[in-house]
């Protein structure tokens, strides 16, 4: 190589060196090599149930994206206008500007309808994600010390999202949302002492006035979202700080996290899952109609139709309102309306009680330890049964929120539906408690039976004396009576021969095998069972039986 060529080479921009140089320059300024590495090395345990919270998180991102688009067109004004848009059936009708601009969004903005529908579906999915994530956290005991604070943040997030959803679906000012607002006004009025003042202050005078939609709008697009973003950030930060809980299993203890580092595999799965949630919302937003406000018409105080149901997450409060008896307190010239109990007191209890639950449980079980290993629901029958009781209570209320539709579709008397709800609300939760408790004990017992006697093989053997017995495959070395000596380790006990490798491995390939299947392993008497006391040395975490 000549000298000239060497100089030319040096001057030429070396493209391959640019990323390295850039990163170097960045680190000179940000000093971020170590924190970045630590973040990428964060270990996450893997289980399908840990994905449920992500549904809520990704739906929230879709909500932010679609919601921002909607604000470009929606006009939160209650000024009365005459509709002149392209949806012919409503032409010439008097309506509020808010309703008119919602119609414009649906009919006169290219792709506006799918954005509106995606926003609504994403909201429903957001709430559903929060609820199933809470179930997971509750039933596995993930809320225990040290995670009580994150559980409380989660409960607050649920109610904030609830409020956000209600404010959102009240904005279009159609007949359905106007009726919802009117009920909300009645609920506020029912609060003792301050009810009328609160109502007239929120509505700026008599219902509906002209201020409520603009006020709900700023609540919906700024106040509550800001709180949601702040609390979600805190939720995530606490997760990173305290590290994720994990299921018990080989090598998993209270003092470690077993899983994979965040980058690349975990991140790939997470990113892919975001795309999938987004895809689901896009398909629902396009293919499944939701909240067709043009069919409801503008809000008029004298107009309502049967089957006026709120969104699903509000429906349980509608149900409680329908079931509550006509008990009004009138004393000393004052009134506490019946509406107060099912719509103010009940949600209040449902906010405070879950927040206190971690502390109540710790007190009753006298458990002050920090826990990072999850519990199988069956191993804590009392908690699982309490959860089932709460779900039964909730489901009765949810169904009662649509009891007029059920009565109509199944030709049942409406009054009978109401009474069924009232009786069911008192009877079903205790029943659910008892049934769940028994099921948990039964499952526990079966786990231990398999650990002692082994897995049923389905092979019937006739003994020389004529008796028939089923051959059991022991999970570990047995004692003189043929009983295994394994202890329950708080995790799945294999109960089928397939789980022990009795089945040949799957042959891969759609039309023809793409690889030779491995030889079927001979099934020896397993020297060591998949769940073995030898690999789970930490025992203080695992509890069984009654608590």
């Amino acid at each position: 190589m000549s000298t000239n060529a060497a100089i030319r080479n040096r001057r030429r921009l070396d493209l391959r060196a640019i990323p390295g140089q850039t990163v170097g320059e960045l680190d000179d300024r940000l000093h971020s090599a170590r924190p970045l590495r630590s973040l990428m090395n964060k270990v996450f345990p893997d289980h399908w149930s840990f994905l449920l919270g992500e549904i809520a998180l990704w739906s929230f991102i879709v909500l932010l994206l679609t919601g921002t688009f909607l604000t470009f067109f929606f006009d939160p004004s209650m000024e009365e206008v005459t509709y002149q848009g392209s949806y012919a059936p409503l032409k010439g009708m008097a309506m509020s500007r808010a309703y008119e601009s919602s119609l414009e969004l649906s009919f006169d903005v290219r792709g506006g309808l799918i954005m509106r529908q995606m926003h609504h579906w994403a909201a429903l999915l957001f709430m559903a994600g929060i609820v199933v994530h809470m179930f997971r956290t509750f039933f596995t005991g993930a809320f225990r010390k040290p995670r009580e604070l994150n559980w409380i943040i989660g409960v607050l997030l649920f109610w904030l999202a609830f409020l956000e959803g209600f404010a959102g679906y009240s904005l279009p000012d159609d007949a359905l949302s106007g009726t919802g607002l009117r009920i909300a006004n009645a609920i506020i009025l029912s609060v003792p002492v301050i009810g009328t003042w609160a109502s007239s202050s929120l509505f700026g005078g008599e219902f509906p006035g002209t201020l409520i939609i603009p006020r709900l709008y700023i609540t919906h697009v700024l106040l509550v979202p800001a709180l949601l973003v702040a609390l979600i950030s805190a939720h995530m930060a606490l997760l990173l700080l305290q590290k994720h809980t994990q299921w018990p299993g080989p090598g998993r203890t209270n003092t470690n996290v077993v899983g994979e580092r965040m980058v690349p595999r975990y991140a790939a799965k997470m990113g892919g899952f975001f795309m999938l949630v987004f895809a689901l919302i896009a398909m629902m937003g396009g293919l499944l109609q939701i909240n067709p406000i043009w069919l409801f018409g503008p809000y008029e105080a004298a107009v309502v139709s049967a089957a006026s149901q709120p969104d699903w997450y509000v429906m349980f409060l509608d149900g409680s309102t329908r079931l509550f008896p006509a008990w009004e307190i009138r004393a000393f010239g004052y009134t506490v309306p019946a509406l107060f109990w099912p719509t103010i007191v009940l949600p209040g209890v449902l906010t405070v009680l879950p927040m206190l639950y971690p502390f109540l449980e710790a007190r009753f079980t006298k458990d002050k330890q920090a826990h990072h290993l999850l519990q199988r629901p069956r191993d804590v029958p009392a908690r699982t049964a309490l959860g089932a009781m709460a779900i039964a209570f909730y489901v009765v209320l949810l169904l009662s929120g649509g009891n007029d539709v059920i009565a109509d579709k199944f030709q049942i008397s409406l009054n009978a539906m109401t009474w069924a709800g009232r009786v069911g609300l008192l009877l079903l939760p205790p029943l659910a408690y008892w049934v769940t408790y028994r099921i948990c004990l039964g499952l526990q017992q079966h786990d231990r039976e398999v650990l002692v006697h082994g897995v049923e093989t389905g092979i019937i053997k006739r003994l020389p004396d004529g008796r028939f017995i089923e051959v059991h495959q022991p999970l570990a070395a047995t004692d003189d009576h043929g009983h295994g000596e394994l202890e329950y380790a708080g995790w799945t006990v294999p109960k089928k021969m397939n789980r022990l490798g009795a089945l040949a491995p799957t042959v891969r390939g759609f039309f023809f095998p793409i690889e030779k299947p491995a030889a079927k392993p001979a099934l020896p008497r397993p020297a060591e069972a998949p769940v073995s006391p030898a690999v789970t040395p930490v025992r203080q975490e695992i509890e069984s039986g009654r608590r």
């Binding site: 209270n254 899952f273 329908r322 990072h372 690889e515």
Partner: protein
């Protein structure tokens, strides 16, 4: 199943000191040792590391690759389709079943496939191609290091000491005194402007039927199109929603005023009259066989508008309260606790229905100040 741990970095072993200095032939192996060391410094041990396909280029590996490529191609295709639909498909609303009705469904389908292809591809990539590993990270449980605790506590106590708040009671007390109303200062401007007196202009009691809205004249009952009503306009057993015949009487400005005017059958009217006689405020409210009840449910304020002609019941579709029209609109089922208020009606000199006066009791849901 083979359980070869750490197959790529074959030369394992404790290489904490300077992994780069050992100088192995394979740069990839050397780099992985660095990764392992980095993880170690972050309290993470990679105890199992296994490439999905130790021998590159097998049929199985190419198959996974093709599958992922298929999903990426699906994304490319449907993203293009999405753009084409978005730009060229007719989208403006037309009456009847036209192509434009498919605009939103097609957008949803193509957008969904676009994102799903990408998502599935990336997930398969992660699950099937990226190396499988088991890493164990140390978890620090319980409180901070006792020493850290002590030092931080000392620092905080020191700060308190530096402010010397403890030995300056005058400052402490005056500060507390000054802070006392500050909370009010923060809240007052925010809330104060919002507060509206609910008892101003008797808002909770007055409706559009108050003659004061009509220059002291009795207010006419009008239909939705603001035309007045004569008794013969309503067939026997029929009912109609009426509004106060004043400017903006049928708009949401008078959301408490919608009223149901019902023409009872003669036999039903007899019973209704007998029952109405028992309630002093309703005594003179009926006109002939006509009754007028507030349409605003006394439970939550929905319009109680489903009239069952045969049973003379009025049902509110929101929470299924039922009211007996023949007995002063008494609640007979559901959560409502109070009767629907009755509007006293008569005919004016031209033979049109008018309200004798406003409702004698508050309309709509209950509230605290109501006796």
């Amino acid at each position: 199943m083979s359980t070869h741990t750490t197959s790529r970095p074959a030369a394992a072993g404790p290489t904490a000191a300077s992994p780069a200095a050992t100088g192995p032939a394979d740069p990839a192996t050397a780099r992985f040792e660095l990764v392992r060391e980095g993880a170690h410094r972050d309290g993470v041990e990679i105890v199992h590391y296994e490439p999905r396909f130790p021998v590159p280029g097998t049929r199985a590996e190419r198959r996974v690759e093709r599958t992922i490529a298929f999903f990426f191609l699906l994304t490319a295709l449907s993203a293009t389709a999405f753009l084409a639909v978005f730009i060229w498909w007719p989208w403006q609303y037309e009456i009847g079943s036209t192509l434009s009705k498919l605009y939103t469904p097609l957008l949803g389908l193509t957008l969904g496939l676009t994102l799903a292809g990408l998502g599935i591809g990336v997930v398969i990539w992660g699950k099937k191609l990226l190396p499988h590993e088991v890493a164990v990270e140390k978890r620090h449980i319980g409180s901070s290091d006792p020493e850290d605790r002590r030092i931080t506590a000392a620092a905080m106590v020191n700060i308190a000491d530096e402010t010397s708040i403890g030995r300056r009671p005058l400052l402490r007390r005056t500060l507390a005194l000054s802070l006392l109303p500050v909370g009010g200062v923060a809240i007052a401007p925010l809330v104060g402007g919002l507060i509206t007196d609910p008892h101003k202009s008797n808002m909770m009691l007055r409706t559009g039927w108050d003659p004061a809205n009509n220059d002291g004249e009795r207010v006419r009952l009008v239909r939705e199109d603001m035309t007045p009503i004569r008794p013969e306009d309503i067939s026997v057993g029929g009912q109609i929603t009426v509004f106060p015949g004043i400017p903006e009487g049928r708009t949401n400005k008078h959301a408490d005023s919608p009223t149901l005017l019902i023409h009872l059958r003669a036999t039903d009217a007899e019973r209704a009259r007998a029952n109405i006689g028992r309630i002093p405020i309703n005594k003179d409210a009926m006109y002939g066989n006509f009754v007028a009840y507030s349409k605003i449910c006394t439970h939550a304020g929905c319009p109680a508008s489903l009239y069952e002609q045969q049973t003379n019941r009025l049902l509110c579709p929101c929470h299924q309260s039922q009211f007996d029209i023949l007995d002063n609109a008494k609640p007979i089922f559901g959560p409502a606790t109070r009767r629907l208020p009755m509007l006293p009606i008569e005919l004016d000199s031209e033979g049109f229905f008018v309200a004798k006066s406003d409702y004698p009791i508050p309309v709509g849901p209950g509230f605290w100040e109501r006796s």
